[in-house]
Symmetry: C2
Subunit: 202 residues, 2 copies
DNA sequence: TCATATAGTAGCGATTCCAAACTATATTGA
DNA sequence: TCAATATAGTTTGGAATCGCTACTATATGA
């Protein structure tokens, strides 16, 4: 019984936070895009990565991104290493309105929880996410903090940077460690990667 | 920081649970309708109550309900006391497919949590819901267990039923106590329920 | 070099949702 | 009592969204 109540509360909370259509002229879907590109690291700020993250198609993702670029909320730059790929970054205009994100209602609600509870809460939610993601064959996004690809111990020694990602073979700066990444591999052994097969499917 | 992670996880969980379009021929929106009418008490099984619960318009709610009535998943009966009102009930056909509800993915994920965690989890989610609902002036749905309108102590004495609702002045049977109600009024301290510490309220 | 895979975009058709108008019944109060 | 107003529900029209399919361009690999 408790499990059902948990599930219903989770979806209900998600709904009422976005109930009122446009905020700052952006639709809930556009806010989701903005939020993703604000939180994703430089390897993951692409249309395809957003589509995978948001469980939608690349076409749908492309549309939403296009509208945000047209509004001046996202800036698009072609990748230097891969001519097909583009990277998207928030503009100052976008950063100026992130405080108005309707998600802030939920953030405020979480802030009102007793501090000791929040850690366990995050833990429980992450476990649920991992469970659902693996069951549905959805990609599992996460941050370096629990990623198997993270190398280094934070100590700068003999010219090496304190951290690096073993997957893309790139050094990382400290601020990047808690950005979400499409290449996330959960801490232990098994690594559910991007659903590589069927690139057109969602 | 934790608060933002919590908020993002909540909405993300809500999304990936419903990512794959139709299930059993029903859209995510239709599933939400069915789920509501399966969980709402007899005072709350109306289009308007669903619209309020789901933070949508009565027109939108009416459309979704009409489609489910046409499919034979909901049965519509006019109210005897109010000629304007209708009440909706799940048909056997609908009850037969509730196990296929895409929400079950989340229920399963919640079930995989350590038992001791679930109670606290429900508690935290409820607090967040209350916080958001009051801040956004959204109606707050809940069950009799924590409702200020609940009267009676569960003891049958001199012809009186064990419980009653003081708001609609109607007796209640035990099964109705954990159905969600549009007339919910928070304020009653959570009564330490009798046996299984798990089956808490909502 | 040719075949195949991947990144991204464009267009179409279906669906969904909101807002507003409308019908019917209840309620209020002068 | 009767008119004014409020409420329950439905209908309709238009806009927005989304997924599917097709398409271009680049990358990769045999």
């Amino acid at each position: 019984m408790d499990s059902r109540v948990i599930a219903e509360l989770v979806v209900h909370l998600g709904r009422i936070a976005f109930g009122d259509g446009l905020v700052e002229g952006l639709t809930p879907g556009q806010w989701a895009v903005l939020r993703y590109f604000a939180r994703a690291n430089r390897f993951s700020r692409t249309p395809s990565a957003f589509a995978a993250f948001h469980s939608t198609t690349r076409g749908t993702a492309s549309q939403a991104i296009k509208s945000l670029v047209a509004q001046g909320h996202l800036r698009q730059t072609r990748s230097e290493t891969d001519g097909r790929s583009v990277r998207l970054d928030l503009t100052d205009k976008a950063r100026a309105i992130t405080a108005k994100d309707p998600l802030e209602a939920l953030v405020g609600a979480a802030d009102a929880l007793p501090p000791g509870v929040r850690g366990h809460f995050v833990n429980a939610l992450q476990r649920m996410q991992g469970h659902v993601a693996s069951e549905k064959d959805k990609p599992f996004f996460g941050t370096c903090e629990t990623c198997d690809h993270l190398e280094g111990d934070g100590c700068c020694m003999e010219g090496l940077l304190p951290y690096a990602c073993g997957f893309v073979s790139e050094p990382l700066i400290a601020e990047e460690l808690n950005e979400i990444c499409i290449n996330f591999a959960p801490g232990k052994p098994a690594t559910p990667r991007i659903p590589d097969a069927g690139s057109a499917q969602r």
